[in-house]
Symmetry: C2
Subunit: 188 residues, 2 copies
């Protein structure tokens, strides 16, 4: 996802009718650009005693190490998003076990949902956004070369729960209520 | 947040340079409108043995019962957002205990983060988006008049964990790494 600044476009700040705070409104066509917090989805992926990390091929933090993670896309679940990022950044198929961490970076309006997962078949390779992918033992993690603090936090959370069931929150029930579809349609 | 349709504005669908999927692009000024999944934050709020519910004053599902919840805003944490929604919809001050549920509604690109909380002082009243606020015992919950399936799921998750510590995932550490600010600035 490229970074674009509203200041370079014809946006003005105003409070839309019925709203209670300033929003960006397109000066040309009047579209109200709601800036919603963004969701980053990712996973700490284990294979035996080793963890899958990737060296970033792109900015920010190019050359530093991360777990596979990125912006959640439309019409996917957070678990599907985490699996997609593992596929895109590390050519890895994963099996998700549960939600390992929820990290807020309020200053940049970002929420990160990081899952615990296992590498399905041991296979991995750098995707287009990675220079390198690697399975490392706990004492081989390049702590001083991690891309983001949340990578450190998630790795530590993994270590704190290793070999034990995850303390994960409730998620969607496996069989959806028959009224679900009509109800959520009205929630959109 | 009002609902606006891109079709009523001068947007066209196209794949921006360096991207891998179609996005909405403003025909007037070229702004790329990334449609990100939206985060709903809310809480199941207990006061003694009773739970706080509100009857919706607005569509969708006007007249139906819900827990306080709504879209997360910019530059707040998900916990702050859940507390703000309790204040806005039920004039309630809450103390959050942990993350109770994470629900995905992929069809409408929505992720809900529902916390477990306690009402601080027993006070509540309908805010502008509520017709009524009420503290109800478990067997007084109007199950057939709930606004959304996720309200039912969250209430059931609360009941399953009542009186016990929450199985919540890891969250931000209390003392932030000194490099945090500079690292996340580059993550924006
Ligand atoms: Zn426009
Ligand atoms: Zn425009």
């Amino acid at each position: 996802m490229s970074v674009q600044s509203p200041a370079d476009y014809g946006f003005r700040q105003e409070v839309p009718e019925g709203d209670d705070r300033q929003r960006l409104v397109c000066g040309d066509c009047g579209w109200i650009h709601y800036v919603n917090p963004k969701i980053v989805v990712g996973a700490v992926i284990a294979h035996g005693e080793k963890l899958l990390i990737c060296r970033r091929a792109i900015e920010p933090r190019k050359g530093f190490w991360t777990i596979p993670a990125g912006y959640m896309e439309e019409r996917e679940s957070s678990e599907q998003g985490a699996a997609r990022e593992a596929r895109e950044e590390a050519c890895a198929e994963i099996r998700i076990d549960g939600l390992l961490g929820v990290y807020n970076i309020a200053r940049i309006s970002q929420v990160q949902l990081i899952y615990r997962a296992e590498l399905v078949d041991g296979q991995h390779a750098p995707g287009p956004e990675s220079l390198e992918s690697r399975l490392v033992a706990w004492d081989e993690i390049p702590w001083t070369e991690l891309a983001f603090p949340t990578v450190q936090w998630a790795l530590n959370a993994w270590h704190a729960h290793r070999g034990r069931p995850l303390a994960a929150p409730d998620t969607n029930p496996p069989d959806i209520d028959p009224h679900w579809k009509s109800l959520t349609a009205r929630q959109a």
